[in-house]
Structure formats: structure tokens, C-alpha cells
Symmetry: C2
Subunit: 401 residues, 2 copies
């Protein structure tokens, strides 16, 4: 399937036992093999890692966040400086989100927690959507919120989100949706979903007005934890001319419910389009998502945990080890003998233990490089496993189960 302007998505091999598939997602800035992982460069920078180091670690695609960049340094400024790719020195495929997720979760934390399946007891208890302090008003027109920098009021609409993302210039962009918190009333979720669909239509119209083939638009599936709403929302996105499909919103109270929610959507997603799962990044989640037909994932997890001394590790049981741990003090071996990233090629666990304990910022860089390389290796091994029908074996190796 081609969507003009150098965009395309070709499906390769299919797993006979699940919806897992390999593919190739093409953009004007190059192609990535799928399933793949999109690393978060929130403010147009991967924290502590240069684009060159990201490439060396095997990275194909990154994202930046519209919410942060529209406030600082501003989309207009980035456009004048040649767009995100030129601005941040990344010449590969790139995605921006709509800005909605941060607006609906900022200063609250609830939505992010809920997507990961961590229950927000207060919100769940009263069955209402708690409003994050940053968000001041939602209307049919859009969302009013406060700037994280100076508290000034800002307004984001489906049209302005497309316009801002056009200025930012990522290859893949996403429609604005209301990201409903977990377990709000069914009625609220249904009304919110219907509005998100109307926002989707407005996004498509605005996108079509300025479409020059340089970008491709993802629609977002909402519907909370309700099977019929998820199906309705999925059919909405499949029936509209979006390039890709993103599974968004609250994915449930715990991991199992997250998989369940995605499984409500999976059979109804447009089969020829790339599917993105927003904000998910654990090894186990990746395997579960891939089996449900997800092609791309994103999460701050790999670089965030690196800043706290954690190294992701294949077969480590808990998916990771903490280099601050005293048992690594005299360990002359690399984080992972089987890794081969720039960090594992040069540095011992003992050195990383020292850097973490000494508070050296280089520890975040070196651990981020390893974690990025590990996620890219995970995705490469997942793709290979789909090709050879050995997903179960790959999962056992990675999760040490």
C-alpha cells in the first residue's frame, strides 16, 4: 500500500498462531522494518544521547512531543529552522504525537499511569474523569490548557494540532483525541470517543488541505475499557482515509486488561495499515502487543530507567539489572556478554557501577546507549522470530520464563 509522497507499508511474514506480522514502513526519510520501537526525543532531543549514538545503537525511528515543542521553542521557530529533522540532526523517519496526551495527563500523572495499567484509586473510586491541573477546559472546539513554562492559557484544536505538526515536519503525525482516563463512566467515555471521532474528521480535513505528500496521518482508537466502544472506534478509524492506526487512551487497570483492550480492537483494525501502540515499552508488553498485531511501539522507558542506573537485559528475569548494586563493584564483565553495543564493547559493570554511584552524567549516556541497542535488538529478534515462527522461543529467551 502506498499513500503518496514516499509513504508506504508493506506486510511481509505472518505468524500462523497470532496477529503478529513483519512489515516495512516507508517514509520520505527512509524505511524501518516492523515490528519496531520508536524512541522518545520529547523536546527534540533523546536525553543524553546524540543522533549519531542512536544510529550506532541500531535506531531506525524516533519521536518528539508536540505539546512540549509548541510551547518551547515553538513550532514556527522550528519550521523556520528547517523542521525537526534539520533542527535536531536526525535524518531518519520521525513521528510527532498530537499534543493531546500530555495535555490530558500533565500535572496529573493519572493517564500515563493508567496506560501502563497502574490503577488510580481516587479516579476509579468516584468513577469520574479527574481533570489534570494543566487542563482548564475541553469543548467541542478543542482543549484549553496552561503552558508548563509560564502558566499562560493555550488552546489546541484538531486543526491547530495538524498545523503545528505540519510546521514541526515529522513524517508520521497523529490526530488530536481526548485521552480519557481509565474507568470513567461509560457514558463519559462514549461521548468523549464520539467527539474524538469528530476531531478525527476535522484532522483529516485539515490534513488534506495542506497535504504535500511530506507527512502521513494516524487516526486514534479510543473507547476506554469497553469492548463495544473499542470496536466502534476501531471501525471508525478503518473507515476513514488515515495512513496508520494508533491504539490510544486508557488501556485498563492492569497489564492483562491492557492486552484485553487491545484485543477488542485488533480484529477490526484496517488490515493494510501500520498500527502503533502508544506509550508501551516493556519486553513482555512488546511480545503481547506484537501478537495482537502491533507494528510500532513507543515509550520513554529505555532512556528513563537508564538515568536511574538500570540496564535492560535479555533474560534478566525482571527485564533489567541495576548497576548501582554493590554486587557489580568488581565485575569486570560487560552489562550483557551477548549485546555488542558501544557500551558493552568498552565498559565493565564495575565502571558503570562507579559512574552511577559517583553521579556522573556519563552513566546515563552509556546506559541509555545500551538500553536503546537492547530495544533495537529485541525488535530485530522479534522480527526474525515472526519470520521463522519461533515467537514463543524468543519470548522465553527474553523474559527468562
Amino acid at each position: 500500500m502506498s499513500d503518496g509522497g514516499g509513504f508506504g507499508f508493506e506486510i511481509g511474514r505472518r505468524d500462523p498462531d497470532s496477529r503478529a506480522r513483519t512489515g516495512r514502513l516507508t517514509t520520505p526519510h527512509g524505511s524501518i522494518e516492523t515490528p519496531n520501537f520508536i524512541f522518545c526525543g520529547t523536546k527534540a532531543a533523546i536525553k543524553g544521547v546524540t543522533p549519531g549514538q542512536m544510529r550506532e545503537a541500531g535506531t531506525g525511528i524516533i519521536l518528539a512531543n508536540t505539546y512540549h515543542l509548541m510551547i518551547q521553542p515553538g513550532a514556527e521557530r522550528i519550521a523556520k529552522l528547517g523542521g525537526l529533522h534539520a533542527f535536531m540532526g536526525w535524518d531518519g523517519p520521525m513521528l510527532t504525537d498530537s499534543g493531546g496526551f500530555q495535555i490530558f495527563s500533565m500535572g496529573h500523572g493519572g493517564v500515563a499511569d493508567e496506560i501502563k495499567g497502574r490503577r488510580n484509586r481516587d479516579a476509579a473510586a468516584n468513577g469520574k474523569a479527574a481533570r489534570p491541573p494543566a487542563l482548564t477546559r475541553i469543548t467541542e472546539e478543542g482543549a484549553e490548557f496552561r503552558s508548563y513554562l509560564d502558566g499562560s492559557k493555550l488552546f489546541l484544536t484538531p486543526e491547530s494540532s495538524i498545523e503545528i505538526q505540519r510546521k514541526l515536519g515529522a513524517d508520521l503525525i497523529v490526530q488530536l483525541d481526548e485521552c480519557t482516563p481509565f474507568h470513567v463512566e461509560r457514558d463519559y467515555t462514549a461521548r468523549s470517543m464520539a467527539m474524538s471521532h469528530r476531531w478525527g474528521d476535522r484532522s483529516l480535513a485539515e490534513f488534506a488541505r495542506g497535504d504535500d505528500g511530506a507527512q502521513a496521518l494516524y487516526g486514534v482508537i479510543q473507547g476506554g475499557v469497553y469492548p463495544d466502544l473499542r470496536r466502534e472506534s476501531t471501525e471508525y478509524t478503518a473507515g476513514r482515509p488515515f495512513f496508520g492506526t494508533a491504539v490510544g487512551g486508557s488501556l485498563g487497570a492492569h497489564k492483562d486488561q491492557m492486552y484485553e483492550v487491545v484485543s477488542y480492537c485488533a480484529p477490526h483494525i484496517h488490515p493494510d495499515r501500520p498500527v502503533h501502540l502508544l506509550g508501551i515499552g516493556g519486553f513482555a508488553d512488546i511480545f503481547a502487543g506484537v501478537r495482537l498485531g502491533i507494528d510500532t511501539f513507543d515509550c520513554v522507558h529505555p532512556t528513563r530507567v537508564a538515568r536511574h542506573g538500570w540496564a535492560l537485559m535479555k533474560g534478566a528475569g525482571n527485564e533489567r539489572i541495576n548497576l548501582r548494586n554493590t554486587r557489580f563493584r568488581d565485575d569486570a564483565g560487560p552489562i550483557d556478554e551477548s549485546c555488542g553495543c558501544a557500551t558493552c564493547a568498552t565498559y565493565s559493570r564495575a565502571y558503570l557501577n562507579h559512574l552511577v554511584r559517583a553521579g556522573e552524567v556519563l552513566s546515563a549516556t552509556l546506559l541509555s546507549i545500551h538500553n536503546v541497542a537492547t530495544m533495537n535488538r529485541l525488535m530485530a529478534e522479534v522480527r526474525a522470530a515472526i519470520g521463522s515462527c519461533t515467537l514463543d522461543a524468543a519470548e522465553k529467551e527474553w523474559l527468562a520464563v
Copy 2:
């Protein structure tokens, strides 16, 4: 001149109008051209910059601090892990200091300020050497001080400093000396200097006992701001079998006095040995030092100012510009058109302005890379200028005077 074990120092060109000279300093881990700059990797890491990035920025030699490393992770541990080079992934020439400077200045700040010519009014007013809180006792045997980590009492002697530096395994090591603060009484300075000389002899004896050709020892010139003491101390070092000469201790109350103090030493320094000036790194200071016969410099300046948003810049007047400044917000040009470092090759001032304002740690990395490259370029141009007798012209270009 060769000092065994792959060490050597060959003098090349000489400036007819000053003591400036070019040379080649050889160690078992390779050679550097002099004059050159030694970058500070205090805790066995250049802050925010990998060894690969240091190399790419033209770096030939780095140092680490004995005081920090003896406390954490410990010299014994580093020795077991193969020494500093293997531990931190740097395969070029390396220097460690004796540990004395930090002991005598830690928790006080006075000595570091004084070396840079910033007057410590209190110490000057009472004419006594104020004791930093970390330092609990100085005796003929050595210095007792408290660990910066847990407050436990530690004792450093000339012999133990050599032993620790042997375990750390840098190519160039330095004798323990008492780093006397600026403008203490002449009597105190004279007695302290005499003790430092005895410590020098003990260092040489300890060094000789374990010498396997893998390291070379620098003696340190003390003597405060007193011309006759500086001469005496310089003659002491010249008369002993040190490989190199370091000009240490208080260099005066202000920049001009610093140059004056170095000029007391210069005529009496052993002419065939490499000369290091401790803790000096401004462009103007480098030119002044080079003219006085200094071959190597070290300073935390290039990477420290980077962490505060400053880019060193040839011809910038004040030697640097601050990327946080609003005037760079829309500036699509690189920090320095004439630079060519990895940062200037890829990133605009506008992007760096954004990173600094956004508090992204990547700004420190990118600015450090530029500052390191700029110092290395300065030193390369200084060497070329000595070769072509154009030091004055080079200085005018760099200082924009």
C-alpha cells in the same frame, strides 16, 4: 631525552621572542604534540563526553584525580580492573595528580580560587593559611583528611600517593606536595616548601622502588609568590631525577601576578623536561603560559562552562558566548563557522539555545564537545604559530584584541 619505558620528550621549534617551544611528549600510550591541553576526567570520566567523542574532538591526553578515585571506587579496585586506561576506556596518554591539591583546597575553595588569581580576603587579611575543613592535620609524615563520602579519616603520604597512582596506572604521575594558599606568611611558605621538597625526595625513592618503566614522575615547584623561594624550589626540582616539572601552588592574587610567579620559575626549570602548569585554562592564560615555556596545561574550565551553556569561541572577545542568550534563538548558524567539530557540523545556535533553555543534558554534551575541540584547536594553532614565529598574530586572533 628518554626516560626509559617508552617515555620521552623531544623539543622541536623555539619561539625567538619568548620561551615558547614545540615538542613531542611520548608515553607508553602514545605521544602528544606540545604545547597541549590535558582535559579533566576527575572521577575517571570526562563529564558527559565519551572517550570516543573526546578523540573525535582532537584530544590527545586526559587526567583523572587521585583524591576522588582513592575514595571511590578505590585504587585497589581500579588496579584489579586493569588500571585507569582499561577502566574508563581511554587508550591514550594520561596523567594523575598527587591528590594533594584537592585535600588542601576541598571544602574551602580558597586554593582553587587563588591559583586563578581570585583573592581570598580572609586568608589574606590574617596572613595565615586557612585550613580547609576536609584537612584535619599536616605533619612531616603526610596529610590527614576526611573522606568526601563518609567523613572517615584518611592519611596520604608521599609514599602512599605514589603507591595509589601506581595502582591507578596513569602514564604521568605527580609527587605529593603541600599546596600552600596565596599570601600566607613567608615563613610558613618557606617551611612548607622545604617539606614539599623532602616529600619530593621521598616520592622519588618510592617511585624508584616500584619503577617498571610504565610511569614517569613530575616534581612540583612551590614557593608561593616569593621570587627567591620559587627559584629555590625550581632548582630543587631541576636537581632531582624527575621526568617532568609541574608549576604548582599559589600563583598569586590576580592574573598578572600569576604570570609573574611563573616567570620567577621559568629561567631555572630543567630545560629538557616537559613543564606542566596546574589548573590553568583560559585562552589568554594559555598564551601567557606558553611564552613562559609551559608545555602542558589542565583545567576543568572547558567542560564546566559547557554545563552552564557557554561555548568557548575564538575571537569572541570574552573568549566565550552563552547559548542561553535570547539573541541565539533564531540563529541558524553553528556556534563557530570556522570550527568544524561534530557539534558545529550538525547543530545550530538556535537548537543549542533550545537545549540549554529546556535543561536537556544533551546541551552539556554538545557544548563540551565543542569546547574540547576548541581547546585542541587553540593548542594546534599555538603550536603552528610557534613554528612560524606568529604567536602574536595567533594571540590577536584568539583574543580579538
